[in-house]
């Protein structure tokens, strides 16, 4: 098991390097210059701008710049935000927990919805329950998150006036009230993301369970006299989960898309909304770093999925 994890980790390194190469190529191909503002600003003398360019090595060949950039990224030196005037890493570390909290809860909600509904659908295919569930799942993942978000705000915040539609990082209340406010403002972003994920996952779970439930060993389990519950939960679902885990991992990049949008709608102070505000403010180092963080998270979750996969499926040998 330990060797398997190490091997997976070693495979993740070239992937990260590849991603960084793609990002850097995009940046290098882009017209314009991160120091354009300095060049056009009349208060900065030409010599100072030249010296800065030299100091940051902007006139070096591309490969040299890439190696240096990757080296400093790997050491945790992610540059300095032009706009906020703090280190990019500090800025991102401030925002990351909120994002991960919303994302994680949403993903959990999605799984909690998808597992039972998908399984029940597959156990009784083409029943009324299955038809309603499948239709709802189809509607759910055809509804883009930005529209669901708007509908939720319209209904729960404006029409019913139950929930706040702006997420605040600092809440001026104490103790249990603080927790309550925190939970209340997280309901809508988490629900929007979670329902979308849940809808997509339900279809995966349904087809995976459907594939397994007709196999002979399920009949054997039933013939042994096991209760339907044990047959389905212990024998069918556990095996059906194997392909689902891979699909969940492949879905991770889509979750980030949803996260950026929900954070923007509900003004959640996470890295998604930081990305948007940095783009609007032309803050290149922050934009590059956040894109890289998102890629890193994708690789990390793929890694976790691989390890989970090995644990769920004993047919995979840890070598």
């Amino acid at each position: 098991m330990f060797k398997y994890v190490i091997r997976r980790l070693l495979i993740a390194v070239p992937v990260l390097a590849g991603i960084s190469l793609v990002l850097f190529t995009i940046l290098a191909l882009a017209p314009g210059d991160p120091f354009e503002e300095l060049a056009t600003n009349p208060n900065v003398p030409r010599e100072v701008a030249q010296a800065l360019r030299k100091q940051f090595g902007l006139d070096d060949p591309v490969m040299v710049r890439y190696v240096r950039w990757f080296g400093s990224m790997a050491q945790g030196d992610w540059g300095f935000s032009f706009v906020s005037r703090v280190n990019v890493s500090t800025l991102i570390l401030q925002r990351l927990p909120t994002s991960l909290f919303v994302l994680g809860t949403a993903q959990l909600l999605g799984i909690l919805i998808a597992l039972p509904i998908g399984t029940l659908s597959a156990v009784r295919p083409y029943s009324l329950f299955d038809q309603v569930a499948t239709t709802l799942a189809f509607v759910g993942f055809s509804l883009p998150t930005f529209f669901t978000g708007i509908l939720f705000i319209l209904f729960f915040s404006i029409y019913l006036d139950w929930l706040p539609f702006i997420y605040r990082a600092a809440i001026g209340a104490a103790c249990w009230r603080w927790w309550w406010e925190r939970a209340r403002q997280a309901i809508m972003p988490v629900a929007v993301l979670g329902l979308f994920q849940g809808a997509a996952l339900t279809r995966f779970v349904r087809s995976a369970v459907l594939e397994v439930i007709r196999l002979d060993y399920i009949n054997t389990a039933r013939a042994k006299g096991l209760s339907e519950r044990v047959t389905v939960v212990k024998h069918a679902v556990r095996n059906a989960l194997i392909p689902v885990v891979t699909l969940v991992a492949l879905q991770i990049p889509t979750i980030f898309t949803g996260a950026v949008i929900t954070e923007q709608i509900f003004r959640v102070p996470g890295i998604g909304s930081l990305l948007i505000s940095s783009i609007l403010a032309n803050d290149t180092p922050v934009i590059m770093a956040i894109t890289f963080v998102f890629s890193g998270l994708v690789v990390l979750f793929n890694l976790l999925a691989d390890i989970l996969y090995g644990w769920l499926d004993p047919r995979i040998t840890y070598r």
Partner: protein, 312 residues
């Protein structure tokens, strides 16, 4: 040899059923059996006709500013209401629909073209080419789409605007980037099809008859790999429409004078409390389009699956 094949096929079909059906009409028959897919096709057809013909019938300009009529709900003068400048929403949604659908279709074509080329190359040549291309596919699959899309739009927006003008520049950039980030599933599908079809007898027959590689691929393998590609392409149209709407919704897609559905939503989202209709109509348009395309994809999956041909 070649002249005998059609007679044999004719013999078989005569024995099978009285009227021989072509492959496509057979697929169409199965597609129509999927009720929701047929419904989706009707809705999508209605949308396409509406955005293509609508602006000629409903001749209200999309940018006529009328402050007296601003933020009005639906009425006879403005069937879907107006926005904060008093511009007619129905006209804007009809016009925006053209762009949204065009983006979806163009991005899908790019994604499918790249995907088929990469998948075909990997599946046909195998070996190192296959290995390299598949690692590349894996790499692209682990790129976070929207952040990367935002990064590229941010870096290249101004330069392309200068070269191609605001409309064409943004359109081409968005289409190319969305298409360029969505080809991976198609590539994997095509590669898998190639690997299995390459070893089939009919391809071997073509090979032994001396068909050059290009002919083997274009005439024998690709047509047989088409079904899953069509399904994936259909779903890609929906995904591309969502991607464009997301970009525009974040205010980073098309400029305000090109009212795509996502852009209208972006403008509407700060006025939800007194003009909900402004957001609900374009949102519903996106939702209905995406839903019907997804259902069509589902129906096509059933209709084009060759395993089902034998079953029925």
């Amino acid at each position: 040899m070649a002249s005998r094949a059609p007679t044999l096929a004719a013999d078989l079909s005569l024995r099978g059923r009285p009227a021989a059906r072509s492959l496509w009409s057979e697929a169409f028959r199965r597609f129509r059996r999927h009720r929701l897919a047929t419904f989706g096709a009707v809705v999508l057809l209605f949308m396409v006709v509406a955005v293509l013909v609508g602006p000629f019938v409903y001749r209200v300009p999309i940018d006529e500013i009328d402050f007296k009529a601003k933020l009005q709900g639906p009425s006879w003068a403005h069937p879907l209401g107006t926005d904060d400048l008093g511009q007619d929403l129905l006209a804007r949604i009809l016009y925006g629909g053209r762009i949204s659908l065009a983006v979806g279709i163009a991005a899908m074509l790019i994604a499918v073209t790249i995907g088929v080329s990469v998948g075909a190359a990997a599946g046909h040549f195998g070996g190192t080419t296959d290995h390299t291309l598949m690692r590349l596919t894996d790499l692209f699959l682990s790129l976070p789409q929207l952040p990367l899309l935002l990064l590229i739009v941010y870096l290249f927006r101004d330069a392309l605007k200068k070269v191609l003008g605001p409309e064409a520049g943004i359109f081409i950039m968005i289409v190319v980037v969305i298409g360029g980030l969505r080809w991976m599933p198609v590539a994997r599908l095509v590669r898998a099809q190639f690997l299995s079809l390459r070893e089939k007898e009919f391809v071997e027959a073509a090979r032994s008859l001396g068909a050059p590689a290009l002919r083997q691929v274009a005439r024998h393998i690709l047509p047989n790999a088409l079904g899953p590609v069509i399904v994936a392409g259909t779903i890609d149209v929906a995904a591309a429409i969502i991607a464009e709407s997301s970009l525009s919704f974040l205010g980073l897609g098309f400029p305000p004078d090109i009212p795509t559905w996502g852009r209208i939503l972006f403008d509407a989202k700060d006025n939800l409390d007194f003009a909900p209709h402004w957001a609900v109509f374009p949102g519903t348009a996106i939702f209905l389009t995406v839903l019907s395309i997804n259902y069509i994809g589902d129906g096509l999956r059933d209709a084009l699956d060759p395993r089902k041909v034998l079953g029925q």
